[in-house]
């Protein structure tokens, strides 16, 4: 048997999806998984780093703005620049944006509400390590839970993301239609998740770790985790 993939889940002060993510990787997917502390400077030899959801540093200043400067993030930035796999979920996505590993920024949700609900997202590109087991156009039912998920990028950045196929997930209806009604938080172009130009860094607002077992209402999040395992 080939070596299993080693995952690392980062804990920042205020992370609150760290153990859910750890549980899914370790117990549901049976992969060796390590917890990485924000003050650490050692990634423990992991193959994929996951930045979990939560409210790192209380979301003070801007969501993700303080976590970006933590010691572990300096290592993760180097790891990502060398092609290492990095997945940012919700607050993890916000940290990736603040750290410049992904392009764009988050604004407060258009209706100013904290949104905690199941949404549907459509897979726009499956030629990434995070979506290769999904089909283009496939609709995933995955919950969101955020205040600042209103994705924004200036027009020229947006054009480049589109041209390079870096828009990976978009909010849609249950039938996969992209419209304003499905765009719960007001994101430009219904964007729910993007990757970097080389495809090894992905950020998304929905929580795939909360949709990894049938008892929780959806297993659609597994499409993302199993895609990562599939490259191994």
């Amino acid at each position: 048997m080939i070596n299993p993939m080693k995952f690392g889940v980062v804990i920042f002060p205020g992370s609150n999806c760290d153990y859910d993510t750890y549980y899914v990787l370790k117990e549901v997917l049976n992969q060796p998984t390590f917890l990485l502390w924000h003050k650490d400077q050692d990634l423990k030899g992991v193959d994929c780093v996951v930045l979990p959801g939560g409210f790192s540093y209380g979301d003070y200043l801007r969501s993700g703005a303080i976590a970006r400067f933590s010691p572990i993030m300096q290592e993760i930035i180097k790891f990502a620049q060398k092609g290492g796999l990095v997945l940012g979920i919700c607050n993890g996505f916000q940290i990736l944006l603040e750290s410049g590993l992904l392009e764009g920024a988050m604004l407060r949700n258009k209706n100013l509400k904290f949104l905690c609900q199941h949404v549907w997202i459509r897979v726009e590109n499956n030629k990434t390590p995070f979506t290769r087991k999904a089909k283009v156009g496939q609709v995933l039912k995955i919950p969101i839970a955020h205040f600042d998920g209103n994705y924004y990028a200036p027009p020229e950045t947006l054009e480049r993301l589109k041209r390079n196929g870096q828009i990976i997930f978009r909010y849609c209806t249950e039938n996969g239609e992209i419209n304003e009604e499905a765009n719960v938080n007001g994101s430009v172009e219904n964007i729910a998740g993007i990757c970097n130009a080389s495809g090894n860094v992905l950020g998304l607002m929905p929580h795939p770790e909360r949709a990894a077992e049938a008892i929780l209402g959806s297993c659609d999040g597994l499409a993302i985790f199993k895609s990562i395992l599939d490259i191994w």
């Binding site: 200043l61 703005a65 604004l107 949700n109 100013l112 924004y152 990028a153 007001g186």
Partner: protein
């Protein structure tokens, strides 16, 4: 030495909080209010630094930390 840094959303960037404040002002009858943009204020105290060096330092920390240059701009002033 005291400095005040004002961070605001760039023109063209949606400001749902500012829009909500404008809305409630209209509801209260203040129809002269054309637009509201919400921002952040930082009052910063410095020591062991001259004004010239501070004038270089403040834009650096505003650009690096206080504001996100993708969505925000900043201005600043000495308070003393």
């Amino acid at each position: 030495m005291k400095i005040r840094v004002l961070v605001s959303l760039k023109n063209g960037v949606l400001d749902p909080q500012g829009q909500t404040v404008r809305h409630i002002l209209h509801v209260l009858g203040y129809h002269q209010i054309k637009d509201v943009r919400q921002g952040k204020v930082f009052e910063i105290e410095l020591e062991n630094i001259d004004r010239e060096t501070a004038s270089r330092l403040i834009p650096e920390i505003a650009d690096r930390v206080l504001a996100n240059p993708i969505i925000e701009t900043f201005s600043w002033d000495f308070l003393d």
